[in-house]
Every structure is written in structure tokens, then in C-alpha cells.
């Protein structure tokens, strides 16, 4: 339940409807103009194309696109790719929103540097026992699937909020109507506008809190209409990834040419394939030739969207929180390649096409 709503009027005010203002005047310094991809939809040709029909309008009412940046293994450069992609698209005139679903360790805002305009508590429901009404029957605790209620003889059940998933089952099964509900804070949502007018949302999970998935869902609920959502996925390949990637139009898997990178990539790819999400790879720190990765790519006919070489300067700028294509403009063309490939695979235009 966001306190503040982004309404169309405000977007207009901020200049979003016309694309980014202000800094765009300096865009030539970034050579975005000359790198700008062509507008026509590239023909869906090779076997690599996983989804020829535009899926972009299918799943939602509005014309927005969900691009998830995932990795399986942590630290492969997922956030670097995500923030640079967001920055590139915004500089090219697209309306971009950055949704950081890595709620355990959100980092995108350290690069896009939004001024935080609103902070909202994220809550889940948790039962409270109305002690006067409870007859200690134990129905609730035997049915709760998460051991969040424990019955002891002669007293009302104890509630363990940290284990509760807020499903509401206990309320339904209590014969005495002795269970009410309260809100419990699991973290917060922060929203603001960052570099290049990119609207940024990130969730921050409370330390010691186990429930990442409800917070991920809340971050995604903040998605604005009619824009490109760049979604930074949590690391790993389990339920938080599924919650993030489930309704993606396109997944970008960032990997590195190492045995660990390949092992975790293959699990993340199988998650995306199970959910039939079109996907492509970004190979980061692509210096050493690692034949097993190339063989894997060939065997699974995966698309490599772009490759970023190992460059110590990237690591140094990253460490300081810089946007790479701004600090090292020679890398702009790599992100441009990424966008062109995304357009080819999704069978649609991304720059200038959506709004």
C-alpha cells in the first residue's frame, strides 16, 4: 500500500512524458545518438530466437516491458549490467523504471543514486490470539504448515511471527473466532528518482527477517505503467528468483567464464526455460577462453547478447559506484549490442518504441 502514487500528471511535470530533459543535452558526450539502434523490428531469423511473437503486450494491460537481469551465481556483474542498461535506455529517450528485487542486498541505488522521496513500510499479516475467546483446542497450531503457532496445554497458542507466512488459515479454522490479525513489518520500500530521471524502487529486508518473497512482490507491484522495467533479480536459483522472473518478458543472464559461473548459470537457465521466459546471456569478464561455457551455449542454442571484457578499470569504477558507460564511454557500444539483441529476441523495439 504505497503512500505515494505516481500519477501521470507528476510524470509529465518531471518531464518523463517527453523523455529525459536536462542531461540529454550532454548526450553527445556519451555518443548515444550515433549508437542509437534503428527503429524497425529486426526479422526473427535464426534458431536462436526463442520467441518470435511480441510478448510484450500479452501479459499486462499496459504497454510496459519487464526485463529481468539475473545471474544464478552472485557477483557476476548483474547489477552493473542492470544499471548500465537502465542508464543507456533512459539516455536514449525511453521511460525507465529500476525495480531492485534483490531485497536482501539491494545495490542498484548506489549507482543510480535516487533521491529518496518516499519510504513505506512493507508489512505482512500475522495472527494475534484473542485470549478471552480461545478454548485451547489446538486446531490452529495443528493446521499451520509453518509451525508458526505452538499449543501448550491450558494456555492460548504461542505465535512465532518470524515463521508465519500470513496465509490466514488459522483464522478460518479457529472454531471460537479467537484469532484476529495484525500487521508485521518485514522491511521497507524506498522510492525516488535517480540519474537520467530513472524512477527507482528498492526493497530493504529487515535484518533477521526470513520472508524475502512478499517484499519482492511488493517491489514489483510498484511497477509504473507504460515504461521499461529493469528488474534486478536476487542471486540464487530458488523461490526468490522464481518470484522475480515469473512474469518477465525477457531475462538477461549475466555469467562469467568460470566453472562456478557455468554451473550456476545452467541452473538459472533451466528455471527460465521451465517458465518459458525468452532469455539471452551476457558474458562478463570475458577474457580467458573457457570452452565448457562455449559448448554449453552451443548445445542449448543460447543467444549471447553481448560480452564485456575483463578490465580492471571497470572493477575500479564499479567499486566507487560509477556508471561504467559514463565513466568509460567506449563500453557504450557493448550495451548498445545488448539492446539490439534484446530487440531481436523479443521481436520488438525497445528504444523509442514503447511509449
Amino acid at each position: 500500500m504505497p503512500v505515494r502514487v505516481w500519477d501521470a500528471g507528476r510524470e509529465e511535470e518531471a518531464g518523463w512524458a517527453e523523455g529525459p530533459s536536462g542531461l540529454l543535452k550532454n548526450a553527445s558526450a556519451l555518443s548515444v545518438e550515433k549508437d542509437r539502434p534503428t527503429r524497425e523490428v529486426l526479422p526473427a531469423s535464426s534458431k536462436n530466437v526463442r520467441s518470435a511473437e511480441p510478448r510484450w503486450y500479452g501479459r499486462r494491460q499496459d504497454r510496459s516491458m519487464n526485463i529481468v537481469i539475473a545471474s544464478g551465481k552472485g557477483g557476476t556483474g548483474k547489477t552493473t549490467i542492470a544499471v548500465n542498461l537502465a542508464y543507456f535506455l533512459a539516455r536514449s529517450g525511453q521511460v525507465v523504471q529500476y525495480l531492485d528485487c534483490d531485497v536482501e542486498e539491494p545495490n542498484g541505488h548506489l549507482f543510480l543514486k535516487p533521491r529518496i522521496e518516499s519510504q513505506v513500510s512493507a508489512t505482512v499479516m500475522v495472527p494475534t490470539i484473542v485470549e478471552k475467546k480461545c478454548n485451547f483446542c489446538g486446531e490452529c497450531s495443528t493446521k499451520c504448515q509453518y509451525n508458526a503457532l505452538v499449543s501448550l496445554p491450558g494456555i492460548p497458542p504461542l505465535v512465532f511471527p518470524g515463521l508465519c507466512h500470513g496465509c490466514g488459515l488459522c483464522i478460518h479454522v479457529c472454531p471460537e473466532n479467537a484469532i484476529a490479525e495484525d500487521k508485521r513489518k518485514i522491511g521497507r520500500l524506498e522510492k525516488g528518482v535517480g540519474l537520467e530521471n530513472i524512477s527507482c524502487v528498492h526493497g530493504v529486508l529487515n535484518v533477521g527477517e526470513a520472508m524475502a518473497v512478499p517484499l519482492i512482490r511488493k517491489v514489483k507491484d510498484c511497477g509504473l505503467d507504460n515504461c521499461v522495467h529493469i528488474i534486478d533479480a536476487p542471486p540464487g536459483t530458488a523461490c526468490p528468483l522464481v518470484a522475480t522472473i515469473g512474469d518477465a518478458d525477457l531475462a538477461i543472464m549475466v555469467t562469467e567464464p568460470t566453472p562456478f559461473g557455468l554451473h550456476d548459470l545452467s541452473i538459472a537457465v533451466s528455471v527460465a526455460e521451465k517458465l518459458s521466459i525468452p532469455l539471452g546471456l551476457v558474458i562478463n569478464r570475458d577474457t580467458n577462453h573457457f570452452p565448457p561455457l562455449e559448448r554449453y551455449i552451443e548445445k542449448h542454442s543460447l543467444d549471447v547478447f553481448t560480452r564485456i571484457p575483463e578490465d580492471r578499470r571497470i572493477a575500479e569504477h564499479y567499486s566507487k559506484g560509477d556508471i561504467i558507460i559514463s565513466a568509460l564511454p567506449e563500453y557504450t557500444s557493448r550495451i548498445h549490442d545488448l539492446v539490439s539483441s534484446m530487440e531481436r529476441v523479443s521481436g520488438t523495439t525497445i528504444i523509442g518504441g514503447a511509449v
Partner: protein, 293 residues
């Protein structure tokens, strides 16, 4: 049981080189059981190169399935499901289903099946140093509620008990959510491997808070320290003010990848490199911490 000490190596942010450090430490700590709790992206076995002795099935959480041939279409289940997992046609989307059981218990016709299935495996192994290793693999996209992490830790502890091994070293998952909590509860020492970047510093604060929440003794290692010496200093100062032991700074090591490719540790690939030196120092300091417990 009381004398077994557990060390967990965590990082908050992924990709700080945590597993390479665990692998190297595990090769030095001879009398130990190693456990890889990063169950949705397990990598430690790729360094320790084990022989699997036993595979145990991990049964995941329950999911609901509606028997459409007997469903009356009353709509109760859709009303009570808070996770929007049931479609208008009463088909349960297992990706959305949290396994809460509300539809199962409340369906008046009793046509909801609610059962669990195989969700991964836990492997008990002997690694190339002839020491025990336990690791697990979750099926892609399964729920990582921390139960499999707990299973890995329990198996590791019972191996240690049986063999009289005094130490379990755990490679923890990234983040601070349920799998991490599960891998940290009740351990004695948490070693945080971080990197000197703006994200690394940001995440370090949260993981140290978590470790202190669980009252484990906390120690910090900075990996790839020379990428940003300035942040490196700040991390050292921050950890000391937080009451953590600062174990050392490992320089950026390009041969780590080579070690991975050769399925071994940096100590084998470049025994005389500064990285290997420092890892041996860290190993000594860790032993001192353990003695003082």
C-alpha cells in the same frame, strides 16, 4: 556434540570469492567436516572434488493440486488463497502456491490433494583430502526455505559426531534471508568475506548485524583488496568498531579462475603467491579464535 565447533563463511553480497576461500581453508584444516549450504548454487564440491558415498532425497514443501473432475466450482479455495495461486478454472499454479494448506483444509468437497515431492538431494561425500564433505542440490526453482540448509548442517554435524571431528566449516549462501539465517543459527564463528566496493561495504553492514543478531563471533576478510585500497581501510576500521576480528586482506588474484578450472585451490596452483601466504595467515588466526572459544 558439545565440543563440535561450527564456522560459517558468508558474504552478504555474492561473488566475493567466498567459496574459493572456503575451499582453501578446508584444504588446510585437516580435521574437519565441510558443508556447502549454498544449496541453490552449490560450488564447493567443484574445488574439493569429492566421491559421493551416499545420496539422500530432500522432500520439499507441500503443494496443492485440485482434482478438477470432482471440483464443484464453489469458489471457496480461491477466496481463501492469499497468494493468487488458483486460476478461475481452479488450476493451482505451483509457482505461486506457498503450500499453506488453506484450500486443502477448507474445500467443502475435499477434492484438493496436498502433498510434497522430491525437491533436491543431499550428498554425503569424501573429498580429495579424504575428509568428509556434505553438499546439496535443490531442483531449479524450488523453494529454499532453509530446510535443505538445515538438513546439510545436521548431516555434517552427525558425521562430525560419529567420527569425533571437532570442527565443521560451512560455506554459507549469499544474502541475509531464510537460507542464511538457517546456516547461521547456532554457529560459533561467522567469517564474512567481503570486497572493497560500494556494494560490498553496504552489504557488509547488514551481514555483520545479522551475525551479531545470532551472537556469533564475527571475523572479516577483504578479498580483491587492491581494487580500492580506500574502501579496504574503511572496512577494516568499520569491522574493528563493530567488535569483529579483522583477519586480513587478500589481493586480487587472476589465477583463482585457473584454480577453479583445475578443480583445486589457489594453494595448489600458486603456493608461493601473496594470496596463498595470506590464506595461511588467516588459517592460523582462525585456529586461535577457535581455541579461545
Amino acid at each position: 556434540m558439545n565440543n563440535i565447533k561450527e564456522i560459517v563463511v558468508v558474504s552478504g553480497k555474492g561473488g566475493t570469492g567466498k567459496t574459493s576461500v572456503v575451499g582453501a581453508l578446508a584444504s588446510l584444516l585437516t580435521n574437519r567436516v565441510a558443508a556447502d549450504c549454498d544449496v541453490d548454487a552449490a560450488n564447493l564440491h567443484m574445488i574439493l572434488n569429492p566421491v559421493v558415498i551416499e545420496e539422500k532425497a530432500f522432500i520439499g514443501g507441500k503443494k496443492a493440486t485440485i482434482d478438477l473432475s470432482r471440483c464443484t466450482g464453489c469458489g471457496t479455495c480461491r477466496e481463501v488463497c492469499r497468494f493468487q495461486a488458483i486460476s478461475e478454472g481452479y488450476v493451482v499454479d505451483h509457482r505461486q502456491c506457498e503450500g499453506c494448506g488453506a484450500c486443502y483444509f477448507l474445500c467443502p468437497a475435499g477434492v484438493v490433494d496436498f502433498s510434497s515431492s522430491y525437491a533436491g538431494s543431499c550428498y554425503i561425500c569424501r573429498d580429495k583430502y579424504s575428509a568428509p564433505l556434505v553438499y546439496a542440490e535443490l531442483l531449479p526453482g524450488e523453494e529454499n526455505s532453509g530446510k535443505l540448509v538445515a538438513m546439510v548442517r545436521n548431516e555434517a554435524r552427525s558425521l562430525a559426531e560419529k567420527s569425533g571431528t571437532p570442527l565443521v566449516i560451512v560455506d554459507g549462501p549469499p544474502g541475509i534471508g531464510c537460507p542464511v539465517i538457517s546456516s547461521m543459527t547456532g554457529v560459533h564463528v561467522a567469517v564474512v568475506v567481503t570486497e572493497p566496493t560500494i556494494s560490498g561495504v553496504h552489504d557488509l553492514e547488514r551481514i555483520i548485524d545479522l551475525a551479531q543478531f545470532f551472537k556469533c563471533k564475527t571475523a572479516v576478510v577483504v578479498n580483491k583488496g587492491d581494487v580500492n585500497p580506500d574502501y579496504c581501510k574503511r572496512i577494516e576500521e568499520y569491522s574493528t568498531t563493530k567488535g569483529c576480528t579483522f583477519l586480513g586482506v587478500i589481493p586480487y588474484e587472476p589465477r583463482i579462475t585457473e584454480a577453479q578450472i583445475r578443480a583445486t585451490t589457489i594453494l595448489d596452483v600458486a603456493p608461493d603467491s601473496p594470496t596463498s601466504e595470506i590464506i595461511r595467515v588467516i588459517h592460523k588466526k582462525l585456529l586461535t579464535i577457535l581455541e579461545e572459544l
